[in-house]
Assembly symmetry: C2
Homo-oligomer: 703 residues x 2
């Protein structure tokens, strides 16, 4: 029995366009606290000045039954995006979610690898609930009887307009704690909201350049010589390879783990890692954090581990300093210090039957629930810390994350394997400050193999993880050439990818994101800020994205729209935002603010380029350029408009860029006196990185 207690929310400006409000007494243990975010203050300077969104004063927080209920108003035409890494839906309005870190269970119900309690409104604001609890979200579901805009009762017997889902004028969120911090983000555009969120979290991660090359995971029981052989084969076939991931068998015991090399399969780890580095290939190590009784650190870890085991391994209480240090020191000593490039950190998400139960306890006093919501954050923060200490960037894989993770050098993956849903996850990753890879594991047909390769090439991590199926890139001879062509295209595009990730870091713009964040898809058109009416929607078919969910096409960087093909399909529709769009391969005009149908051959994944876009590319290479290695640039221009692009560069390896050791070179394409397109690139600044050997220009549309 309880009396609801309404709390007055005072909004405090914490960064430009970001306000914090407090309801009740928030718990000290929070998502942003665990992530340890340090806002990228400089990045906010390139965003428009904004005032506190007016809905701030309509947000209600109530303490009831030891919990906190939040209510954030909605208007009738608003759409909502985000609430973490969903796999089947982009539109979240109307959904009921229980945000809970878990392996994705084939239903967008809030249980996912990164159930980030952050959402973006098409009206140009965003909300983050900074709680490490299981949150229940009613994203516009449930109507109050005293709502000023309450829906009207109808008779289901006779009234055909009766609906099972009456209109709801609010998002309601139940936080099972007697207080919480919420963050309100202004826009003005939804993309600006996302940028402010990412900048608050430190700016997006900037991977080492090699992280954007090609990667492969090898058989779990491979020895060092097996791995060398596999690398040789890639080189012989002329297939690019920047890092190789070793699966569980590199460890002496796995599930639970020792974190120690298996002496039979890897008698000389240090020599092996160095040898591979000499071939231009980094080593990534699979692990999970559960400690085997056979690990050297078991006895010391035991008193700082949780009450319950996972596969009979103890669970380090990572909320405590001692467990963190024990684990970090072990990884540093065994792997990082000998040159290992990164980790694939498995099994920190779920399922419930694998992980500690909610009744488990931890010596730090952090609850099992909070630990579940933050374990993925901890393993990222801890390993990131080891690499920072060594001034080497890493880029790895993790299976759980949450709010505050934008700056962590990790890409989420899972065991699910639906190509369409993988693309929807890629779209949703851009709403919540995480990265996602639609990794390629297996395929029944050559067609599916190629289609999956084509899309993973346009993703944050171009990975083949086919050790279990035994497939190699060239396993299907009929598509082997095209697979290789796309792998090499990935490499050619490294200057573009690297720059787009730099924009993630410096400006908070996600490298992969929904077309809904493009101005032509938003409710408000940027130019005139006018509110669209139903009539507008009818007049502008491209705007149907507002009401119709688009979940199979996405932006890859700010210039490219990717519309993957799925096995069994020979054509598809693509909704183009406003503005002229051009074919990536031919430079031909394809449309403007309209729905088009394309029928590419098996050899092409449809990719479209914005008018005036400049895409910097380099020569095909089997490895990403090393520090100081010069590139021969091919700069492509698409469409008829002038264009400007800022090409980013740095040493590609260290954290020097955090101390200003980077360059932005201005690339311009304009028309000369004869109306002919002409390109120019600003000169290198002395003392700043300069990795350009030569430049050639390619005007794709006006050849």
């Amino acid at each position: 029995m309880f009396l609801p207690l309404r709390s007055q929310i005072v909004w405090e400006l914490v960064e430009p366009g970001v306000w914090k409000g407090v309801v009740g007494i928030p718990e000290k243990y929070s998502l942003l606290g665990v992530a340890g975010v340090t806002p990228n203050k400089e990045g906010f300077s390139r965003l428009p000045d904004v005032e506190l969104p007016s809905l701030a004063h309509e947000i209600v927080g109530t303490l009831q039954d030891g919990k906190t209920a939040l209510r954030i108003p909605l208007d009738r035409k608003e759409q909502l995006y985000g609430f973490g890494l969903n796999f089947q839906t982009v539109h979240q309005r109307g959904k009921i979610l229980n945000l809970h870190v878990d392996h994705y269970g084939r239903k967008d119900d809030g249980r996912t690898h990164a159930p980030v309690p952050f959402y973006v409104s098409s009206n140009g604001y965003g909300v983050l609930v900074n709680s490490a609890r299981y949150l229940t979200v009613y994203a516009g579901s449930g109507a109050r009887k005293d709502s000023p805009d309450a829906p009207v009762a109808k008779d289901r017997n006779t009234d055909k307009t009766w609906t099972a889902a009456p209109y709801s004028d609010a998002v309601s969120i139940l936080v099972p704690a007697s207080g919480v911090e919420i963050y309100l983000f202004a826009g003005p555009t939804p993309m600006d909201v996302v940028r402010r969120y990412n900048l608050l979290c430190g700016g997006g991660t900037l991977p080492p350049r090699w992280g954007l090359g090609f990667t492969l995971r090898t058989h779990k029981l491979y020895s060092d010589s097996d791995v060398r052989k596999e690398a040789d084969e890639f080189a012989q076939k002329g297939f690019p390879l920047d890092f190789i991931g070793l699966e569980p068998g590199w460890q002496s015991k796995a599930y639970p783990c020792t974190f120690e090399w298996d002496k039979k399969r890897f008698p000389d780890p240090s020599g092996f890692v160095k040898d591979m580095a000499d071939r231009g290939i980094r080593i990534n190590l699979w692990t999970n954090p559960y400690v085997s009784p056979d690990s050297e650190i078991y006895d010391e870890m035991y008193p700082v581990s949780g009450s319950h085991t996972v596969w009979c391994g103890i669970v380090p209480d990572l909320a405590g300093e001692k467990a963190r240090k024990l684990w970090a020191d072990k990884l540093e000593r065994e792997h990082v210090s000998i040159g290992v490039g990164g980790y694939k950190i498995d099994e920190v998400d779920g399922y419930d039957r694998y992980l500690w139960p909610d009744v488990a306890t931890f010596p730090s006093g952090v609850t099992a629930e909070q630990m579940r919501q933050t374990y993925g954050l901890w393993v990222q923060r801890i390993t990131d810390g080891i690499y920072r200490k060594h001034n080497r960037r890493t880029y790895g894989l993790v299976r759980a994350s949450n709010a505050g993770a934008s700056s962590f050098p990790y890409v989420i993956y899972n065991d699910y394997y639906n190509h369409r849903d993988f693309i929807t996850a890629l779209i949703n990753s851009g709403f919540c400050g995480v990265l996602w890879t639609p990794e390629v594991r297996s395929s029944k047909t050559a067609e599916e193999w190629l289609r999956r390769i084509q899309s993973v090439v346009f993703s944050p991590m171009a990975m083949i993880d086919a050790w279990s199926s035994g497939l190699k890139p060239w396993s299907f001879p009929e598509v082997a050439d095209n697979v290789k062509e796309y792998a090499l295209l990935r490499m050619k595009m490294i200057p573009y990818w690297y720059t787009e990730f730099a924009r993630y870091h410096f400006d908070g713009i996600p490298p992969f994101y929904a077309v809904n964040l493009e101005p032509g898809f938003a409710f408000r058109e940027q130019k005139n800020e006018k509110r669209l009416t139903d009539a507008d929607l009818e007049d502008n078919p491209y705007l149907e994205a507002v009401s119709k969910e688009i979940k199979d096409q996405y932006m890859a960087g700010g210039s490219l729209l990717v519309a993957p093909m799925f096995a069994g399909e020979t054509n598809r529709t693509v909704v183009l935002p406003v503005g002229d769009w051009y074919d990536f391969y031919t430079g031909e005009y394809v449309g403007n603010g309209e729905r088009i149908t394309v029928s590419p051959g098996l050899d092409r994944i449809p990719v479209f380029v914005k008018d005036g876009a400049i895409i910097p590319m380099m020569e095909a290479s089997l490895h990403a350029p090393k520090t100081g290695q010069k590139m021969n640039l091919e700069i492509r221009h698409y469409g008829k408009s002038d264009g400007t692009y800022y090409l980013y560069d740095d040493d590609g390896e260290t954290f020097g860029y955090e101390k200003g050791e980077y360059s932005w070179r201005e690339i311009k394409v304009t028309r000369d006196g004869n109306g002919k397109l002409k390109g120019s690139i600003s000169k290198a600044v002395k003392g700043k990185p300069d990795n350009i050997a030569s430049v050639t220009w390619k005007f794709m549309t006006e050849k």
Copy 2:
């Protein structure tokens, strides 16, 4: 942050073989409290004397993070049953459930119509957690690092005996409240545990005799004359019909509801109900409890309703006296007082998107969560109360229930429609004090139609609810005769059904239950109490039920084993408990403690009878016998053993049986001097009900 606080549990004997333990400070609002249970003390006298199970002292309650964690030990071979109305599983060990009242969502995850927090162990004890909160149950999942019987770590890389699900030695339950009451039930057998649970809850419900006849639900927009016509058609076809259910259109407005008759379709409700009663047909009314603004009680109900609406209707705060009285008075005035026989109370279960959200508040101070867990109990208790006031028994349908409901005259139904899963639900209903009907709604084929009819005849409510599909019992001419044969068999068996329900009331024995509750299926054999070993399991194939889940056959009363056929199948296997079993139709011997395969024709649902069983039947009739109406009994005996049966009778309508106005007639079959079977029935006791006109004997096996 919290320090776990271990609570000492003191066990208090509350009824014979039932102990209550308290952890922390239990909430006042509980499941048994809402159900208002009054134990059937007399019923306990027929159960064996038992002591506090020794595991009582190993049960641990811990207060942590404002919640209560319970741990109940498990041994290695124990199986668990119950945890509410599951649809796809009978064995619950190893499951993780979040007990939450909801429409069944195609997965046994704890969200169901009756998520009763009660389980029965094959070791012969049971546990009930008397909390109206959403409980998280780890039914033998999760291992503690300090467990004395902890599983041992293995290397997944190389050890083939590695398992993803290591052994767990406990059931853990997380109660989100800082205290809880738990009840521990002794056996010695699992059936005895179930009996004690039902007796604690007042004993099982005893429906009016007409409730065990045939029932039909008519089209939602039927008028009174349409309903009369339908009843006429049933009479003309010689098809039994004891009560008719009116769907939403009887109300002036529905979804939300007025609870008032629609004046066009039902201009004279009282005359209509009386007229139907004269034909021997009761009227059951569909409703949901959400109040339409057009209902006369809306204004008075408004201040005692919840904060949120359901389909724009207000939600009566049934935890408060005033709302209960307002609603009960309305139903009494409009329906019960004019002779309506009962209700079908819809939409008190879920889905989340239909019902009030967890952020809703109620004037009583009961939380949205508690209201969700108990709303089904309240609507049953309130309507039961109206009928008790009128000294007329009712028998209706409800879509949500919970612990404590055994004595409520309601059968659960839902919108799901999988024949196999409906049978599994019927099995599970017997573990948790609820009733379930595998109602017949639609069928693609004559075969499916007949198969579904055949199994609903052996269930607590023989209902056809096909108004939406438009099917009639005789819609498939090729099976119409057999459909009618089974409908009439239902009627002939009323003396048996009625007696088995009396056993539910007086002795707590569920009328429909799992074969696992039969002695031949339990871990311990009743005779010698010896513990079975793996070798025993190999020697006794019938015992494979311990390890292999049997979910498609069930007991219908204590004498019949029903093994339904499903569309598309021409044969099936049946696992027979120990003891000789006979065919219900022919009396022939079929087996003993073994797995048999049967290939009945389309015209037969396999039913088997225990050796020595006595089945009382009456002549076929279109309506159940009225008060005082005499029956011509046909008493069947099966097998070769002597038999004894106690035949129950009372007025079939009122609560007189609660004041001793009932009779148990002893029926005996023994062999005479020539070894020939001979039957006898005890004389009627003066002043006690005596509804038997004549008796004929039928020795099915020894003819």
